[in-house]
Symmetry: C2
Subunit: 138 residues, 2 copies
Amino acid sequence: MSAENWLQQLQDNGYRITAARRAVVFTVFGSVHALTPAQVYEIARKKYRALGLVTVYRTLEKLEEQHLIQRVHQPAGCQAFISSGMGHQHLLLCEQCGKVAFFEGDDLDALTTAIAQKTGYQIHEHWLQLFGLCSSCK
Amino acid sequence: MSAENWLQQLQDNGYRITAARRAVVFTVFGSVHALTPAQVYEIARKKYRALGLVTVYRTLEKLEEQHLIQRVHQPAGCQAFISSGMGHQHLLLCEQCGKVAFFEGDDLDALTTAIAQKTGYQIHEHWLQLFGLCSSCK
DNA sequence: TATACTATTGAAAATGATTTTCAATAAAGG
DNA sequence: CCTTTATTGAAAATCATTTTCAATAGTATA
């Protein structure tokens, strides 16, 4: 998966490729940090000066719809986004520098079926996020 | 733990017990659903007509600070709160009716230490939320 | 119980993030 | 190259949340 692939996927789904979208896509794709719309705007504008904040919102919306990015939930707020990575993965956030790492947590299947049994709920989806310090910050 | 205990805990921490806080506390304490500030306002005002929305925000802030309630993160938004229940527990939300169930997930300790080893992160906290349908909705 | 101190209150105004509106522009297919 | 129509940025509108402020009401103390 590359940034160009993201643009291609947008186009395949009937959206057009524009300079503004290119700037946003390249900004979010390349980031190891979860970025807020305002941060994306600030960074992406270095690539494409005429960019408007509104377009950032609109592009993030489409990328989320395509599951190319995902929202990151944090104690400080839930407006930040990060590239989705491959397949189903969970997030690990550094509380100091904000760096995001992915990990696979298929081990959860056992847990979710146990919980389903115990509670009578039919479980569709799960969110797992870990918080801590990355190797450079600790 | 009862609603009166919550009020007592607020008082023990230097806050005063007022009719407005009483209405908010009884509303949130008794709910099986995660409630937004606006929803708390609407319900609590049936108990105390003069209540202001601002006071709801301020009271929720204090209850969260005392770890009596916790914020619930959902795809639709992250402004809803629910009683914390006892000890460290995880959330299970019904996508249909919004009912929240708690469950214990101490089994995660094994997972977090494994992830810590693999990634080099020092893990402090984790959030786990499951989504699905409760027994009555499925 | 009365008093004094000060936290708390609700209303209104202010803020900040996000969304909508709209006319001008530019992408993509023919 | 044209035509169609999605996309754009700016400005205005909206919505949730926070701040300000003078009036009120808890609580400790006498």
